[in-house]
Subunit: 222 residues, 2 copies
DNA sequence: TGTACATCAGTGAACGCGCGTTCACTGATGTAC
DNA sequence: TGTACATCAGTGAACGCGCGTTCACTGATGTAC
């Protein structure tokens, strides 16, 4: 399987950061490009958006774009990185929160699921774009985000695992992990790509949250 | 959100079948085109494959291709339909199988999950292509397969529901359905797009099957 | 059973469009002395 | 505090490549009488 995307000259696995802007002016341009793209991703896919369009929306120009980014794809890399950092930061904050000290596993799982739902909804456009890209190619670099989410989320998992004594499943570590895989898969499908689901049987986010929580706890044998 | 795919002239929601071949010769050509495409999809995405390449692999020509299909996309429509029919057929056979007469819900769920895993693995390439396409656009037509799978699978669900007395969940219908959504999401992610998952923690298909079964039954409260 | 004509099937070079990328140029900001 | 020069930033028309699609043509199969 080969990539459909332009190969980066600097070789493999090095998501290229934008050439660092050295003046305030161009830093602002970069910011405008980023936010314009996120806005455009809100209801189109990355492939459907042209560089010219991004430039125009950002009140900038195609040339300026290429002054920062090696190619179109490098922009998505950059968004990926920025976004992953935000996620890691939020997860860290979250897992350090002291309210978990005395909490039961039920409460913890409930909150983690709500947190994830919030995150998916907040970054829907970008997450869609990154997910699709990861799946359009197998340049391993592009599976980064999903992998990163799947790997960072372990911090949340560790939180759950610290309640290990409440878990009856014979291999709690594996079950906690696999259960998370199931939760993340389900949320990705339902929240990022809802078109695939019949609308006749609408399932609200909060029902989904409740049922995922229920399923997860039942699986762990709490 | 607009489609990135060519719009069909004949209007909306009408997946165009190929112009029916009237001679044996062209029927064979059509068959070669179909099988060449499925072969190519085995390790590339639909967008990465050119019409010229399909024609060449099928020992045919670009012109012949367009004699059958209105455009490139119509081919994927066609594969979608053919494939969905196969699935429906197999599910029907499956659910009529008499061995379910006396079976317990545990056994039934176990077999259904294995059936689904087999199906996903057997048609991996095509299913990937169809899933990605459904997600690259929101022409509702393109979400057909996923929706069709999500809708045909209810036959399997009905099978499970016929064991309703063994289910403790307060709303068994909803739980059976939602649990299936979780199973399908997880299988799609892990089997169709395995790149996203770290290889350090390998999970075999049969472990996955066991754990999904376990999780599902626990969720239903069997 | 043969001939004439119509339709079907096949071919691949040429076309054309969309879009990513380049490039020659103008203007703004920073730096050296 | 001013002048000269270097670098950074911005612009958008023009380029070019890839690939889906068309089209003029050849050959094969079917049909009418």
């Amino acid at each position: 399987m080969r990539s459909g995307f332009a190969k980066r000259s600097q070789g493999v696995n090095t998501p290229s950061a934008p050439k660092p802007p050295s003046q305030q002016r161009s830093r602002e341009t970069l910011a405008r490009i980023v936010s314009a793209t996120e806005r455009l991703l809100h209801d189109r896919n990355f492939e459907e958006i042209t560089v010219a369009e991004i430039a125009k929306t950002a009140h900038s120009s195609v040339g300026s774009f290429y002054a920062r980014f090696e190619d179109k794809d490098a922009l998505l890399d950059y968004l990926d990185i920025v976004h992953a950092e935000k996620l890691i930061e939020r997860i860290t904050e979250y897992s350090e929160d002291e309210r978990w000290q005395g909490a039961h596993i039920e409460e913890l799982v409930r909150e983690v699921i709500r947190f994830l739902i919030g995150f998916f909804k907040e970054h829907k456009g970008l997450l869609r774009a990154l997910t699709v890209r990861a799946r359009l190619t197998d340049e391993p670099r592009f599976a980064e985000v999903t992998r990163r989410v799947n790997n960072r989320v372990p911090e949340l998992i560790r939180l759950v695992l610290s309640r290990r004594s409440e878990i009856a499943h014979p291999s709690p570590d594996q079950a906690v992990y696999l259960g998370f895989v199931m939760i993340l898969s389900t949320l990705r499908e339902r929240l990022l790509f809802p078109e695939a689901y019949p609308t006749q049987l609408p399932i609200s986010d909060s029902l989904l949250a409740d049922e995922l929580q229920h399923a997860y706890l039942a699986y762990l044998g709490v």
